[in-house]
Symmetry: C2
Subunit: 230 residues, 2 copies
């Protein structure tokens, strides 16, 4: 392997490592936001925003790395797909960071009022969403299609939990109008978590596309195109 190729491999590894670092930050943020919500210490200032600054800094660095890899190394085939996927994953992770900040804002409003109900499903949703973020990035780095597929399947569980949360809180709202404001905040938190799951699903789909060069995003359409070609 020549010197140029070795340098490229090293740069590509650095690129992947930065994305892992960003995903780890996003995971920490999810944990923090939910534990702040569950523990209800209204005097504590949320630690989430300081992590978001790190995520934003990483987003800029990673975009610059992607551009530099593309411009100076002129990669082809699977390396090219990896860099393009990485650039998209970068955007997804940044938005996950934004969503966690939104959760923190809702939590802040909730802590000014008495608790509406014990929180069970929302922490479960958060656990699933956090795991999806980690596993989608693991799938990216290890080029693991099966793991990416399992992330996509986990999203159904997140959606099912969200629907459960929604139904339960609707009954609260219908039986007592004073619960409406708090119930709406909790519904919003559930939606933010659902969207974090959606972003992890987008990452997993990008990973499969990167590895297999086929599009899992619209399977029926792909099949039709395939048949037309045959």
């Amino acid at each position: 392997m020549d010197k140029h190729a070795r340098q490229f491999d090293k740069d590509l590894d650095d690129f992947k490592r930065k994305l892992l670092e960003m995903a780890a930050l996003a995971e920490t943020m999810i944990d923090l936001a939910i534990s702040e919500l569950v523990q209800r210490d209204e005097h504590q200032v949320s630690q989430v925003p300081q992590y978001e600054r790190d995520v934003n800094r990483l987003q800029i660095e990673i975009d610059e790395m992607a551009l530099a890899l593309l411009a100076t190394q002129q990669p082809v085939a699977v390396d090219l797909r990896t860099i393009l996927a990485g650039a998209k994953i970068n955007s997804e992770l940044e938005r996950i960071g934004d969503l966690v900040c939104n959760i923190t804002e809702c939590a802040h409003t909730l802590l000014t009022q008495p608790p509406l109900k014990p929180l069970i499903d929302i922490p479960r949703m958060a656990d699933l969403a956090r795991r999806m973020v980690r596993e989608s990035l693991d799938a990216f780095v290890r080029e693991d299609v099966l793991l990416a597929e399992s992330v996509i399947m986990t999203d159904d569980q997140v959606d099912a939990l969200k629907n459960q949360v929604l139904r339960e809180l609707m009954t609260y709202m219908m039986s007592d109008p004073r619960s409406i404001e708090r119930a709406m905040s909790l519904i919003l938190i559930a939606r933010h978590l659902e969207r974090i799951g959606d972003h992890a699903t987008n990452i997993a789909e990008d990973v499969i596309y990167m590895i297999q060069g086929r599009d899992v995003r619209h399977p029926r359409l792909q099949k039709e195109q395939q048949e037309r070609k045959e």
Copy 2:
């Protein structure tokens, strides 16, 4: 200009044209979904899903074009940024298509029940969101920073309208529990429109980054980094 360069310019134009085509479809979908909601013809089958299939087909084509441009032409500098921005814009447009389908689903539920109130702000939100989509793509094709910046500013109006919708519907819910289900569907539609505005904002930010090579996504952070370098 040599033959190779001419071919590259032609391919890049085709790439941009496909993105414009996809944005035009997304605009049509927004119009359709909202007019179906406002006109309340419950017997009519929504036309939105057939457009979504076209959007999904275009997404695959555009990703392949981006990969082909990067692999065969090995572009640098601003062309490289354009292709990378285009690949990201492609993902944003596909998600706008998904969101319009979600609006259609909410509308379908609403049409089975008597109207809760005349819809004023939701169609206004839709108009703004649709305009943001078109202008963000115009800014991309014309490399127009000012237009991209105006898209980002319009997002504040969309958010303000969404808050207005939310407040109004909360009062409906509090005064009459029978309105809760319909109010929740309308709130969800307003949120989907808000997210369409967010995606157009993402596109506008990608466009500015593409043209100026500077990141508008986190201005304070950029400034700090700049100062550290000086």
